[in-house]
Amino acid sequence: MHIPDGYLGPSTCGVFYALMFPVWTIASKVVKKTLKVKQVPILAIGAAFSFVIMMFNIPIPGGTTGHAVGGVLVAILLGPAAACIAITVALVIQALLFGDGGITAIGANCFNMAFVLPFAGYYIYKAVSYKASINSPRRIFAAGLAGYAGINIAAFLAGVEFGVQPLLHHTASGQALYCPYGLNVAVPVMLGEHLLIFGWVEAIVTALVIKYLQKHSPELLTEGRKD
């Protein structure tokens, strides 16, 4: 889901940077207000976790690959604003150091994976785990569902961003200037592969870690929460 340089036209890149600046500003303010000093090391691990989990490319035999993002998990533990900051850090480092995701597409990639994914996942988790006790199995289910939904919404958005490019930018003869695949291809492919495969990876990872923490460190599931 890391859109590279050259797949999105300048206008799309600009729009998403413009959308993300206020998101980053507000997220920083929220984190400054709510994050406790002792939660900072956990957030650091959250960013590291998101970075490394995205390196686990899962193959569709003979086809393409994809991966989990880990962002919903970070959002459940530390709140969506803190997750937004952590995933942004991971995505920026991936783009700058490892060429994974484009420099021009950092705005769009962060919009999908660092903003919509953790926020959507977080509120789904909150809704489904509403009034569930800390060790309730419903929290594990809520975490899995939130991971699955979060990454699929992000994948859908990436598909739309890819897919509108041929409409926005083409030569007089109809050749695409950036991503050559339209909405009719990009959206079903991006959404389909995540609904069928990669979404389940995000769901399982999120649910298993929450299950582990329920048993071994339940305070992580309660701290800093205004339930």
């Binding site: 984190v31 690959t65 150091l97």
Partner: protein
């Protein structure tokens, strides 16, 4: 053991296992992620390289492109796995260090 240490061990295990993200796609002959093709793959897929893509795709040259050391791309999977692990170590450490540094500005002492 403190949960922070346990979580770091978990990250360490993921780092050691990370080459699976390279070896499994190679084993199952899976190509690039959808929408993340290089220029040559793009030409094979649609018959041409979109003009804007050609210009923008070389905009940035990352120091460790695709988690592989420069010049090691053709050295085979064991070398690529090694550079994948080193990349994971570098990446996770820089991520964590950045957050710890940001944390100095973003968290308030009163929120202990």
């Amino acid at each position: 053991m403190k949960i922070i240490s346990k979580l770091w061990i978990f990250i360490g295990v993921l780092i050691v296992l990370s080459p699976l993200g390279l070896l499994l796609p190679a084993h199952f002959k899976a190509g690039a992620a959808w929408g993340e093709w290089g220029a040559d793959e793009m030409r094979q897929l649609v018959g041409y390289i979109p003009n804007g893509l050609k210009k923008l795709s070389s905009l940035w040259s990352a120091p460790i492109p695709d988690y592989a050391f420069r010049g090691w791309e053709e050295k085979g999977l064991p070398f690529l796995s090694f550079s994948y692990i080193v990349s994971a170590v570098i990446g996770t450490l820089i991520c964590a260090a950045t957050i710890l540094l940001l944390g100095k500005f973003l968290s308030k002492k009163r929120n202990l």
